[in-house]
Every structure is written in C-alpha cells, then in structure tokens.
Amino acid sequence: MKLEVVLPILIPLTAGALSLALWRSVRLQRLLGVLATGLLLAAGIWLMRSTVEQGFLVVEMGSWPAPYSIVFVSDVLSAIMVLLTGIIGLAIAIYSLASTPTGHEKFGYYPLMHLLLAGVAGAFLTGDIFNLFVWFEVMLLASFALLTLGGERAQMEGAIKYVTLNLFSSALFLSAVGLLYGMVGTLNMADIAQKVNSLEDPGMITVVSLMFMISFGIKAAAFPLFFWLPASYHTPQVAVSALFAGLLTKVGVYALYRVFTLMFTQDIGYTHNILLWAAALTMLTGVLGAAAQFEFRRILSFHIVSQIGYMLLGLALLSPLALVGGVFYIMHHIIVKTNLFLVSGITYRLMGSYELKDLGGFYRQRPYLAILFLIPALSLAGIPPLSGFFAKFIVVRASLESSEYLIAAIALVVGLLTLYSMIKIWAEVFWKQVPDHVTDGGGLNSGLQPRHTLAYYAPVIGLATCTLIIGLYGQPIYSLAEMAAHQLMNPQLYIDAVLGGQAK
C-alpha cells in the first residue's frame, strides 16, 4: 500500500481543508495545528524507516503505470526532507500557539500553514517534473499569503518583491518543463533521466537545464538571485519567518539536488562549474550582507543565503563525500536556522524590537535563553561539537579532496565571518545592558505570560536538542546522508526503482 509515501501530503492537505472548514473556531484550528503537524512528523518517521529499509518507495498515483502516471518517489533524501518538514512543522505549530496574533489566526493562518507544509512535502516526494511545479505553486501562494498576513506596510513591500521574483522563477520553470517535454515527451523524472542521454543534441538539454538552474536558484536564494529573501523574510510575524527560513529555500536546494544528479549530468563541466562559483559567491555575499545588518532577523536572513552556498557547494562538487556534506548541511541548517528565528521571536516578545540597538540584558536576566541561543548560533558558525561543525567539515574536506583549494578557503573564511556575526548578536542582545532608551527594562522584568512560556520554549529546546544530538551522536545522521548521497550518485538506482520492474 505504501501509505506512508502519500501521508505526508494527505495529512497537511486534509488538515488544511479541515482548518478552513473550522473557520469560525480558532481554538479547534490551534488544536488541529499541533495534532496534524504531530501526525506529519510521525508519518515522516514512518516514511524514513521504510525508505531506509527498502531504498526506494514508489507510488503510482491512480494505479496507472509509470511513466504515464504521476509517481511519488521516496528515496533517502526525500525521506530526510520530509522528516525535517515534520519536525519544523510541529515546532512552528506549537510556537504559533503563543506567538501568532489573534487576528492572523482568524484570517487563515492555520489553513495556510498546513497547505504550505503540503506543498513542501509534495515537492520533496514527487517524481514528476510537472507535479513538482504544482507543489511549487502551492508553496509560493501559501507563502505569499502568509507573508502578507497582517498587512503591514513593510510586509507588503517585501511581499511584492518576493512574489514578483518568485513568479519569474515559476515562469521559467514552466517554460523549461514545456521545452523538456518537447524534447523527451515525458514528465516522469526517471523517464526523463533515461531519455536525455539518448538525445541527439545535448546542447539543447544544457540550455534547458540552465533554465531549471536559474529557476531553482531563485527559489534556493543563490547568488545573484537571492534578493527576494532579505527583502521579505524579516517582515512577517516570527513563526512565519522561522517556517520559511527552515524550509522554503531548502525546497529550491532540494530541487537542484534532484535534477542535477538525476537528470542533468551530461555537461557537468559546464553546469556544475556554474554551480560551484554560484556557491562561492553565495557564501560570500550572504555573509557580507549579514555583517552589514543590525536587525536580528535581517542578519539571520542573510546567513540563510550564505549557507545555501555550502549546500550548493556539495552539489557542485558532485563527489560522494561532497553530497554527504551537502545533505548533512541541509539537515543541520534547517533545524538551526529555524531555531534562531524562534529565539529572535522570544527576544522580540520580551523587548518589542528586532533592532540590536533596542535589545540587551538577556545574558543576565535570561541565562537559559542565552544558552539556547548559543547552541544554534555556535552551531551555525561551525563550532564543534555541534552539528554545524561536521556539516562544514565534510563540505570543506570534500572541496579539498576535489582540489578546489580556493573554494575550501572561502568556505572557511565564511565560517569565521559567520562566527563574527553570531558574536555580534550575542554581544548586543545578550551581553549588553538593557539600553538606556528602553524604559522599564523593556518587558524583561515582567517576562512572558506563564501560559505562553511552554509554547515559546518547548520548540526552541527541542530543536536545540536536535542540534546537540546531530553533533554528539552524528553517526546515524551521517549514515543517512551517506545513503542519500549514494542514491544520488547512482541515478540508475532511481530510474530502475521507478521504471524497472514496475515496482508495485
């Protein structure tokens, strides 16, 4: 039956519809939010177990045989991504209980959150290039709606940039799908992979693959296509930022990983070299951008960009170790980045600002929050033995083994600048005294409402624990990344699983 392959879509989709039907009861929607994301996480675990056991799980929608049907394919990479979607989804749903303004809840926050998750999970699981487009659209619209929820001026300005640039991406994606279909006459990714190699003009494929690269590069926020991200991510309410920060760009990265390992490997010398330089420049511009910021979420947003570079690097090098590094990086990053945004939300709630100059005094007054910040922050900067260290280490090692010394050096220097950035936040928000212009110590003295405390802290603690576990007990995680990389390096496995033997 392989129900577990479809459940990650069905759960959020049904929950979205149900939430919408429960339009008038915010209470029930909240409950459903936690429940459905919890179920999503459970489904993710189930999917992971079966995928690890069986290698590939393929579901042919409507029982039509591949390549005629839309297939859902779970390989280890997909399963990892879905599991992470579950983790982040649950964290955000719990956090939202406390952080989401009532007005947002009334006007569709929860249905949109569920549908966004459905889009994300769908993109991770589909084995059909057009279907991927569909899920991208689900994601884009849901994220746009979430971005504008609240209707602040800054939100609108950010959202317009967000949606315009992302619509370019969609248009390019759709054109590329059309052209590709025109060449190979199929939409099933495994089938495409099989057919592109027997085409007469590989040059055409290269052109189309570059269109995909640009389109997904926009989604992934790679240099020089990332501008929508720092323009918008700091504008919505924080749970939305955190959700986006964790998952959205990673869908773009995932799509790049998928198509540039499975389908477009005929001109690696050109395509992957572009990716390599995009990776280096993404790392650099992102981290330099962060150095110029003095707003908590803007700093974090630029670091998303910077770290996308590391992930792209893993793909660009296209060696088994590099892919392990890339996948490991994705796993680490999703958890850490979401968590940092969540922490910024707590400091915001306590002191009413994201500007570093308006914050301060947390080290003295909230020492445990300080620790909870330090764990993801140092992990982000790649300090051992936290998850980020291993992620960075593997990627750097892979670059050295591919004799890309300059890239390795860039990756290391960017690590140092990231550390600098995190220390900047630390010094301003945690070390510094409460600034003089903040009256009554901001809200620091009064604190969170007791009933909110758990919802605020539980996700942060949970994600910090994940960071520690990945760091200290990294072997299973590494093995997963290794399996994923193995499958990615051998696209024939994927093709056989989907098309060969008509796996039922």
Binding site: T148, G185, L210, P224
Partner: protein, 936 residues
C-alpha cells in the same frame, strides 16, 4: 575507557558544580575540585606503563566515516600536560574561592572553568586530530566566555571578541591543515600520522599544510603577529588569566607543535617559520613588557615572550632544544601562574594594578611579597630556580644553532637581549611593587595579607619552582624524560639536568643578561622616555577598526547589490539567465531540425499579428491602466481562439472563462488605483529593458524553434489509448485532469484555494480609500444597481447554473468538466453581486465561501484516499455503467466525485476572491484590523 573518563569528568563537573552555588563559595570550590582529584587518581596508575616512551591508546568510534573517533592517547607528553592542567586547575579553584566576591555568579564561573579544563584535557589526551580540533575550538569558545566574565565592562567584551576572532580563525586554519594531513596520510589517528612523518614531509602539500597548522598553533599560543590578543585577554578575572592565559590554554599551540613534532619538524620550512616567529615574539614580548604599568599587562607580555622562547626552541629542530622546550613549558607554567595569582592578590588588596601607584608593599604584605619575588626571580632566570635551568639550556641551544655566516650570531644575540629585557621587567616587578617608596593613593588602604588559604596555591607553585631549581633531576627528571621521549617519538638525546654546568658560554650569557638587565632597570626612565617617543599601537583599536572596515566594506558591497529596487533585482535575474545560457545557445546556433515547417495560412498569420500587436500595445500603453487591461484581454481571448483552432476545445473554454474572471478581478483592483501610472523611468532604462526583453525573447524563440522542428514522440499516445478503456471517458483532456494526472489537479485546486484565502486575508487587513468620484471628477451614480441589469441577471442565474451542470456532467466524455463548470457558476453568481449588490447577495448566500472551498478540497482529497479502502494507491479511479429508466445507460465514476471537489473549490475560491475585493468598497465592512499582537 578511563582516559575518556578523565576528559569527561570536568564536563560532568561543569553541570553538577553550579548546583552547589547556593551553598556558598567553599562548597562549590570543593565540588569543583572533585573532578580534578578523581582524574589525577585515574591517571596515576598509568605512570609505570609509560616508561620508555610508551603510549596508552584507548579507542571508541564516534563518526568513523569521516575519521573522527573518541580515541585517547596517554604518553609522556600528554601526561605532563594533563598534570599541569589538573594540578594547576585545583590550585586555581582554591584561589578563585577567595578571589571572587560573594555576589558574583560563582556557579557560572566554576562551570566555565571546568568546561575549559575538560576541553583542555581533551586536547592533550586526544589521539585523533579531529577530536583534538573539536576540543581546540571548545577552548576558544570557553575562553571567550571567561574573558568576558565581567561582561558589563566594554573592554572585557572587546578583549573577548578579539581573542575569539584570532583563535577561532586560527582554529579554522588548523582545521584545513588537519584535513590536509588526513588527505596525505589517510587517517587522523595520531599513531598513523606520527609514523608517517617522511611521507608528509615529502608531499607536495607539505608547505601549505605546515603553514596552516602553524597558524593554528601560533594564534593559540600568541605568537607574532597574532600575539596581540593575549594582553587584551587580561580583562578576565585573574584566576582565568593565571590558568588559561599563562599556564595552560596558550600552551595548546606549543603542545600542538610538540605533538606533531615527529610528523612535521625537521625541514627547512619548519626551521624558518617556527624559529623566526619564536625569535620575533620573544623579543617583542620582552621589550613591551618593560613598559607596561599594568601588573597583568607586564605579565601578559612576559608570557608572550616566554611562549616565543619555547616556540624558538621547537623551531631549532634539535632534539636537545625540544627537551628544553618541554622543560620550559613546565617551568613557565609554575612561575607564571604563581605570579598571576600574586598579582591578583595585590589587585584584590590594593584595588589597583598600576605599578606607578603600588609601591612599597613589602611592608604591608611580606609573605605575599616573598612568594612573588621568588617567582619573579625564576622568571628572570636566577640560579637555583627552575627558570634558570631551562634558560641555560636555551642559551646553549642558541649557541649551537648553525646559521650561515654572520647570521650565526643572531640567535645568541637575540637570546641575550631577551634575557636582558626579562631581567629588567622582573626587576621592575619586584622593585616597583614591593619597594620603591610608599604606595600612592591606593583605592584600598592600607593593604594587608590576603586570607590564609588564598596564598596556599601560590606557596605550592613557588615551592615547585624551588624544588625544580635545586633538585631538577630528582623532582622533574622522570616526568621530563618520558615527556621528551614522547615528543621526539622515541630516542631522547643525552642531557643532564643539573643546577649548574660549570663555567661556560651560556653562563656568561646569563651573566650578561643579569648585569644588562639591572643596568637597564636602573636607567629605566631613559628607556621610558625613549619608548614614549613612539606612538603605542593600540591593537584593540586597530582590531576594532579592521572590524569596522569589514563592516563598512560589506555594507558597501551589500548596498551596491541589494539597493531595494525590484527592477534592479529583476534585471540581475535576467542578466544571469542570459549570461549562463549564452554559451550553450551560441553552440546551438540557429539549428533548425529536420521537421518540415507547416505552411502559413492567413487566419493564423492574422491571429499572430493581432496577438503580437496586443502584447506590444499592453506594454506601450501600460501607463493607461484601463486601456492596457483591455489590450491584455485581447491577448487572452486570442490565446483561447488559438486553442480552439488547434483542436483543444477544453483549453479554449477554460481560457475563456478564466479570462472573464481575471478581468473582473483586475477591474475591481483598478478601482482603487490611479488611472495613470506616473513616469518613473529614464529613456536609458527603457531602452536597456527593451534590449533585455529582446534578448530573452529571441533566446526563447530560438530554443522553441529548434525544438518544434525536431521529431517528437511522447507519452500522450498512452493517454489516447487508455482514456476510454481505463479511465471510462472519451474526453482525454478531462480524463487526464481527473484521473491520469488527477494529482496535479488536486494540487492546482489547492493553489486556487490558497489564492482565494490569501486575497481574503490580505483584504481583511487592507484599508483602502475608495475614490469619491470617477476619474473625470463626476460623482458616482446614485443608483449603483441599475434595474435593467438586475432584471436580466436574476432570471439568468438558473439558466447559467443549468448550463454549468450540463457542462459538468458531460465533462468526462465531451468538452467540459468541473473546472469549467465551476467557473461558469462563479461568473453567474458574480453577476448577481454586480447587478444587485453585495448585501443583497450575501443575504441569500448563508454559507461562507471558505467552507465551500474547504469542502471542495476535502472531497477531492478524500476521493483519492477512498481508493486505499479497496487496496489501491492514492487516487485510483473506479467506474461502472448503470442504467435508470428514462435517462438510460449512464456512467458512474469516482472521478466524477473528484471533479465535484474541483467544481466546489473553483466556485468557492473564485467567489471568495472576488467578493473580498468587491466588499472593500463597502465602508461598513471595512475592518480596522490593527496589528493586534494579542496571542492566545
């Protein structure tokens, strides 16, 4: 396992000890010293097994795939360092008990101190370079937190940041170096690496590997040009300075050089890089120490100098020099830690560390003074103290160094000069602080002896200085021997540890250093005057300005790139797309395939021309919003016509109805916008954009042309063949939509639902002013709902609904289906809103459209889930034929239920979107939804 335990103990202590913070400083100090004591007891039994340079290795896997293991190694070198860390650790813990004030956060302090201890033990006990790296970085972070223990002081924060930036950066270099070693050797385990010295030295990557490792070591051990962080780290509480920044952490770099000595040393590169760095550091540190008025500043620069000395010894590359280096590590740790503690006591008792104010303390605290003077004498290298012995060895080695030509005089000269400075600053420490007249307006007066137990750590260390100084072979000989043999990887050269080696050249150098140093001190005022002529470089300011510079640079770069202009971003996007595809496109050229081009017929050509004209018109007229909207609708209609021409009636129908709804939606939005767009672009940007548009268009055309002229085969044959027998419908398009690719449709209706919901929520928060007049300034008609329209549209509604039911039902076999039917229904209902007003219509539609949308999505989803009940995958359809009287034979298919879901979603979503927009104009429904951060 027990070695892992030794490392783990302090970490556990770091968690447990703070729990005793409530019970007072004594309790927490006792609790904190337990791990060190247990660790010492654990290490003790190993002593015998290490004789003769043996090593104990204990190995547990951690992350074997990347070569990281929890692999620990105890040999003489590790033991020596571990003992230093543990013994001095206990003394520091005791000392800090009295140093810290009651109100300070002792729990945090001890916790961090123990964390550091664990990390440091980790470094010295690691048998795996990656593991060492892990602990290495950890010490940097903990040191950062400890330097800034008094984080309310800006200097402390800055000092901490600088230390972290330097040592953290060095850590990254080390990481790269370690990676390269791993790449050369194939393992990170020390026994493999140490055995592969020749292989490493012969490798092409050796120079860069060495340089990277050394940068790691030099940053940590404060070697020139990275030395400046150490004096600024003196903002830390004094126990931290004594422990981390003189006795242990700064020795980590030294340790690393000792550890990798067999693998990396013995080449010219090693010699030049290490010895010259050491030499420069030795001199600079000693020189600057002279002029520091701050007690801790003097000691810090002296530490820098001594670290340089040890580095120089390692750099020399001879075995005896290495022995001397290891020996000096111990000696320096003992006398410098005790001096720091003494300085802390003085600071504690007088309230200042300024040597221009603290004078004549001998009278007030003779006990402390005696201890400090012995330690300072050792620092100066006075005979019968441990500092003397290793310094003599150093002098001897400096003489042995065979540099070519005149350079041969350099090392002894530098050594003697540094010796002179060392004597001078030691003399200054003793004379200025304890003699030299009376104290000058001390914050605390009169000073007196500290608590009894605060002096005990100092006494023990000073005792060690004396014991080693007088009975070196007996006291430290065995430990030094095994440490040296571990460092050298086997053979130890002959050396004798003796108080004196008779009258020889080194002794003469010592003598010169003493007399020179004392003369220098007596003439100090001249030197101070001389020194003051040079502007002192404030490294912190330099560092901060570098940081600011980086910040400004990134700001400039960022602002250049990210200037907030959407046009700019779009431009970059297109340029990127254009640039990356340019090369493959030129390769491709105008490659027209083998397919024959179909002949041009006039209707098609005309259609194409109109299409192009309308598209251009839309762009040209875009400032006249309504006009360009009308032109745009022409484009849409022509596309519908094109679909119809190329035998795609379903697409044509869909396009047509979508067009209608879209135009209504846009007109609703235009209502709130000014009729004209102001001119905001220059001619240049317009022509630039024309160029980009042309480039993009031509590129797409070329690709499309190349594509369409090539033979094509696709999966569509399958759909045509299986539509009727497999899907139960003759309209392939509909069967594709609801069956073959129903999953896409499910996604697409979700998109629609989200879009409607998004518009709804956005409008709820939007406050728009509806214009009071039309664009010509005329007031709006008083009768917004003309009777004629009302009279016609109402009877039309049932008709339209009937049409949509018809379209819906026949969809499976003939053009039609849920999507089109939904749009028709929506348009029919919308026309009621337009004709009769929102209020009138709302009274008659009781169900909120959200519910309709939800129902639609739910029905579609559940239809898919339903197939699981029968054991088939998601969305498997089922159909059968039934016959009823009158109607006859007809088809029942689950696909139709799915289509119903589509229908409902489309109706709900369209109406939700349009009414949300439409309702804005009605002032009564405007929501003044301010940003209420209410929460639950």
């Amino acid at each position: 396992m027990s070695l892992a335990l030794v490392v783990m103990l302090p970490f556990m202590g770091a968690v447990i000890a703070p729990q005793f913070a409530q019970a007072g400083r004594t309790a927490i100090a006792i609790a904190s010293s337990v791990p060190s004591l247990v660790a010492l007891m654990t290490l003790f039994p190993y002593w015998e097994r290490l004789a003769g340079g043996n090593a104990v290795i204990q190995h547990v896997e951690w992350l074997p795939q990347i070569g990281l293991s929890l692999s620990f190694r105890l040999d003489g070198l590790a033991l020596l360092f571990a003992l230093l860390i543990l013994v001095i650790g206990i003394l520091i813990i005791l000392y800090a008990r009295y140093y810290l004030k009651k109100h300070e956060n002792v729990g945090k302090f001890y916790s961090l101190l123990l964390l550091f201890q664990g990390a440091m033990l980790g470094i010295v006990l690691s048998n795996n370079l990656l593991l060492m790296l892990v602990f290495w970085e950890l010490t940097s972070v903990v040191s950062f937190l400890l330097i800034s223990f008094w984080n309310h002081k800006q200097d402390a924060r800055r000092g901490a940041r600088m230390a972290l930036a330097i040592t953290g950066g060095g850590g990254l270099a080390l990481m790269a170096g370690v990676l390269l070693i791993g790449q050369i050797v194939g393992s990170y385990e020390l026994e493999v690496v140490l055995a592969a010295g020749d292989q490493i030295r012969a490798h092409a990557l050796y120079p860069i590997t060495l340089a990277l490792i050394l940068v790691g070591a030099f940053t940590k051990s404060a070697q020139f040009p990275f030395h400046f962080w150490l004096p600024h780290a003196m903002q830390a509480p004094t126990p931290v300075s004594a422990y981390l920044h003189s006795a242990t952490m700064v020795k980590a770099g030294i340790f690393l050089m000792a550890r990798l000595y067999p693998a990396l040393a013995g080449t010219e590169q090693w010699f030049y890089m290490v010895s010259f760095t050491g030499m420069i550091t030795l001199l600079i540190g000693a020189y600057v120490a002279m002029f520091k008025h701050d007690l801790k500043g003097l000691l810090a620069h002296s530490t820098v100098s001594h670290l340089g000395l040890i580095t120089l010894l390692f750099g020399m590359g001879t075995k005896l020099a290495a022995v001397a280096a290891v020996f000096h590590v111990v000696n320096h740790a003992t006398f410098k830690a005790s001096l720091f503690m003494a300085a802390g006591i003085i600071d504690h008792e007088t309230g200042t560390r300024d040597m221009r104010r603290i004078n004549g303390l001998w009278r007030y605290m003779p006990h402390t003074a005696t201890l400090a003077m012995v330690a300072a004498a050792s620092m100066a290298g006075v005979p019968l103290l441990n500092g003397f012995i290793s310094k003599e060895m150093f002098f001897a080695e400096a003489l042995e160094l065979n540099l070519p030509g005149i350079w041969a005089y350099l090392p002894p000269l530098v050594a003697t000069l540094a010796g002179i400075f060392a004597v001078a600053y030691s003399a200054r420490f003793i004379h200025d602080v304890f003699f030299n007249g009376q104290p000058k307006n001390l914050p605390v007066f009169p000073p007196h002896e500290p608590p009894r137990y605060m002096k005990i750590p100092v006494e023990i260390l000073v005792f060690a200085c004396l014991a080693v100084g007088m009975f070196p072979a007996f006291s430290v000989g065995p430990l030094l021997f095994i440490a040296a043999s571990a460092t050298l990887g086997g053979e130890v050269p002959d050396y004798t540890l003796a108080v004196a080696h008779g009258f020889n050249l080194p002794l003469l150098m010592s003598f010169a250093a003493f007399s020179g140093g004392l003369v220098m001190y007596s003439q100090r005022q001249r030197f101070f005057d001389f020194h003051e002529r040079f502007k002192e470089i404030d490294e912190k300011a330099v560092f901060e300005s570098v940081v600011t510079w980086v910040g400004n640079l990134s700001e400039r770069v960022t602002n250049k790139l990210e200037n907030g202009s959407l046009q700019r971003y779009a431009l970059l996007l297109f340029l990127t797309a254009f640039t990356v595809t340019l090369w493959p496109l030129t390769e491709l050229g105008f490659s027209i395939g083998s397919n024959e081009l179909s002949p041009v017929d006039y209707p098609s050509a005309l259609g194409a021309l109109v299409l192009i004209g309308a598209a251009i018109g839309t762009v040209v007229m875009h400032r006249q919003r309504l006009t360009s909207l009308i032109l745009l609708s022409v484009v849409g209609l022509l596309v519908a016509v094109a679909f119809a021409t190329f035998s795609a009636p379903d697409l044509a129908l869909t396009q047509l109805s979508v067009e209608v709804v879209t135009i209504i939606l846009l007109v609703l939005s235009l209502f709130y916008l000014p009729a004209q767009t102001p001119v905001e672009t220059t001619a240049f940007t317009r022509w630039r954009d024309v160029g980009i548009a042309l480039a993009a268009g031509i590129g797409m055309t070329l690709v499309t042309l190349a594509l369409l002229t090539r033979p094509f085969s696709s999966i569509s044959e399958f759909f045509l063949e299986n539509s009727k027998p497999g899907g139960g419908g003759t309209n392939v398009v509909n069967v594709i939509l609801v069956d073959f690719r129903g999953f896409d449709t499910l996604g697409e209706i979700t998109v629609l639902a989200i879009a409607a919901l998004g518009i709804y929520s956005m409008m709820k928060y939007t406050k728009l002013q509806a214009p009071a007049t039309d664009r010509l300034g005329n007031p709006w008609s008083k009768d917004p709902h003309p009777t004629m329209l009302m009279q016609i549209s109402r009877p039309l509604l049932p008709l339209a609904l009937m049409v949509s039911v018809f379209i819906f039902l026949r969809g499976h076999n003939l053009p039609g289906g849920g999507f089109i039917a939904g749009l028709i229904t929506a348009v029919a209902l919308i026309s009621q809103y337009i004709a009769s007003g929102v209020d009138w219509s709302e009274q008659r539609v009781k169900t909120p459209y959200q519910i309709v949308v939800a129902l639609g999505v739910a029905i579609a989803t559940l239809t898919g889930v339903g197939s699981y009940a029968f054991g088939y995958p998601f969305l498997t359809s089922w159909f059968t034929y039934a016959s009823l009287p009158v109607i006859g034979k007809f088809e029942l298919a689950t696909a139709m239920i799915f289509d119903l879901g589509v229908y409902l979603t489309v109706v709900g979503a369209t109406l939700l979107a349009l009414t949300s927009l439409g309702k804005l104009s009605d002032p009564s429904t405007k929501v003044s939804a301010s940003h209420n951060e209410g929460g639950v």
